[in-house]
């Protein structure tokens, strides 16, 4: 698939995945998780990867973050290997759970990235935002001295996002960060992320299984097939920014959702998968499409 056609200048590719392949061993069987994934995210773009559960979205994200090594293929983040990009603290990883340290206060959790690997910490005032500033921006200023156990799930997830923004990485890799929240909280957090992104304009690769979330947040939606995962289609999202609360009610939005859903359904067809993946695909399709 070619990257999104509408370019507004010679933007260097932020994240490039080229022919990324990965399989896992499950006892005697070798399960192919990713088969030749090709995807590029330009600098300053928000790209979402969507697909049925178990299609390897999270694996893809972990490979991009340098947490897993691909069996074949190449990953570069601003021209560097993921590991080197991590070494210079250019990668902000937001896992599925908030993964906060329960013995630290909210503020200290947000400070954590600045405290480890200090050599790569940008000097204060230069790039790195003040953790307190970020916390104010996500509405956590009043709870910064509380501990994670005293917060609601949505607030904890906000802290995790604030933690990722606080050390000013160039790229954010987010693994279904809202999937464990209730629908109402999720909607609020999506819009908060939108407005944060509007200000900071990070390069983002965002994994989700929610069609609405994908369309609302992204510049382009990469639709993955069921196992083995490949990018079946790249749906450009041309909705104007900033996107307000009402954008979800527009016809344009609905049309895009419809398009993504159709691509998802096509991608999950047994015929397209490898032999033996049909059973899995039909099983997971309901899970992938049930959102919204």
């Amino acid at each position: 698939m070619p990257p999104s056609p509408e370019k507004d200048g010679p933007a260097p590719a932020g994240l490039v995945l080229e022919g990324v392949t990965k399989s896992f061993r499950d006892g005697a069987r070798l399960i192919s998780a990713l088969a030749g994934v090709r995807l590029s995210v330009e600098r300053g773009r928000f790209v979402t990867v969507i697909g049925p559960s178990g299609c390897g979205k999270s694996t893809l994200l972990r490979i991009a973050a340098g947490l897993l090594e691909p069996d074949a293929g190449e990953v570069t983040i601003f021209g560097e290997s993921p590991r080197r990009a991590c070494a210079s603290k250019r990668v902000g990883f937001v896992p599925q759970s908030p993964a906060l340290l329960p013995w630290r206060t909210v503020l200290d959790n947000v400070r954590l990235p600045l405290q480890v690997n200090r050599r790569a910490t940008p000097p204060s005032g230069l790039g790195a935002r003040e953790p307190e500033e970020i916390l104010e921006a996500v509405g956590l200023g009043s709870v910064k001295h509380l501990r994670p156990a005293q917060l609601s799930g949505g607030m904890r997830q906000r802290v995790a996002i604030a933690r990722a923004f606080a050390f000013d990485p160039e790229i954010l890799l987010m693994d279904e960060p809202f999937s464990s929240l209730d629908e109402l909280t999720r909607e609020v957090l999506r819009h908060e992320l939108l407005s944060l992104w509007q200000v900071h304009r990070k390069t983002v690769l965002f994994v989700t299984h929610s069609v609405t979330e994908a369309v609302l947040l992204s510049d382009a939606v990469a639709v993955m097939t069921a196992r083995p995962g490949r990018i079946a289609a790249l749906v450009p999202v041309g909705l104007p920014r900033p996107r307000g609360d009402l954008v979800e009610l527009t016809d344009e939005f609905r049309a895009l959702e419809r398009q993504v859903r159709l691509e998802l359904r096509d991608g999950s067809r047994p015929a397209l998968g490898a032999p033996g993946s049909g059973r899995l695909a039909t099983g997971e399709e309901a899970g992938g499409g049930a959102d919204g």
């Binding site: 947490l67 991590c86 013995w103 690997n117 709870v143 156990a149 799930g153 209730d182």
Partner: protein, 301 residues
């Protein structure tokens, strides 16, 4: 969940591979409260509950019944049990004696515990990084654990004499395995996604240990301490009994009193030992409450 948390780290059975760790991880409370929880609502109410008669009255009644039964036996069969007044007057008339021996036993416990803990924790850190070390050490530790440590004591006395050294060793050995296993499980209980976050920040092994693995292991270490403190007193007393000499200690005191059939002194020493165990356990509980105050407010017990 609450009970699993409490029971989890305390169990010191042979769990060499510690695979079940994450399920019992005490810090992994993923409770999804939808509202901001207040400032420790459980705390003050728990304190008040402890003061209401319904909580302490049953224990008091049971204690009263037991001492009554004791008294009946003691009065009619002075060779079986001493009367409680005899025990108390024994303590009252020679407090220096008991104080001295208590200090000796306490010293053995302190030295044995700290050296054992330092060694066990150091080994656990090494094991959590290098599987080879775990494979080498764990079987030996298991063998050590199933060996009745009491049996080691006479041999150690032969080797090191009627000194404090064999007592230190017995005390250390008896608590080594629970410390080792809990340290290892604790170090491995760190949230895997938090580990991933640290990896993407390129945090060093040392930073990961200090900032994540070590604090994650604290609940397990305290659980181990709660088990190990009374156990270490057992170790010290057993060692003292098989090497009762000039070195003193409450175990030696009991051994000597037994030779003179001095029941009152024996039970006075036992009473002191019980108080010692209780005080040590209470100290751990208080310390634990302070150190682990970040945990979700649990129902106090």
């Amino acid at each position: 969940m609450q009970t699993a948390e409490r029971a989890g780290p305390g169990s010191d059975g042979p769990r060499p591979t510690a695979g079940g760790g994450p399920d019992l991880a005490p810090g992994a409370g993923r409770a999804r409260g939808t509202l901001l929880a207040g400032r420790r609502p459980g705390r003050s109410s728990g304190r008040w509950r402890a003061l209401s008669p319904s909580s302490w009255l049953p224990a008091l009644v049971a204690l009263g019944a037991l001492s009554l039964a004791w008294q009946l036996v003691a009065v009619h069969n002075p060779t079986v049990l001493p009367t409680d007044t005899a025990v108390l007057s024994e303590l009252w008339h020679s407090p220096g004696l008991f104080w001295h021996d208590t200090l000796v036993t306490l010293q053995e416990v302190a030295v044995g515990l700290t050296s054992s803990f330092a060694l066990a924790f150091g080994l656990a850190v090494a094991m959590s990084y290098l599987k080879v070390i775990e494979r080498a050490v764990m079987p030996l530790a298991v063998v050590l654990n199933v060996t009745p440590v009491v049996a080691l004591a006479p041999g150690l006395v032969v080797a090191f004499g009627f000194d404090l050294v064999p007592r230190y060793i017995v005390t250390a050995v008896i608590v080594f395995f629970p410390f080792l296993v809990n340290s290892l499980v604790g170090l491995r209980s760190a949230d895997p996604e938090a580990l991933e976050v640290l990896r993407t920040l390129h945090a060093s092994q040392f930073e990961t240990l200090v900032r994540l693995r070590l604090p994650s292991s604290l609940p397990y270490l305290f659980a181990a301490a709660r088990v190990c403190l009374p156990l270490s007193v057992v170790g010290a007393v057993v060692a003292e009994m098989s090497s009762s000499g000039d070195a003193g200690g409450l175990g030696s005191l009991i051994e000597t009193a037994s030779a003179y059939s001095d029941l009152a002194r024996i039970y006075a020493a036992i009473l002191v030992l019980a108080a010692l165990g209780l005080a040590l356990t209470l100290a751990v509980v208080v310390l634990e409450r302070r150190a682990l105050s970040w945990r979700a407010p649990a129902s106090g017990s």
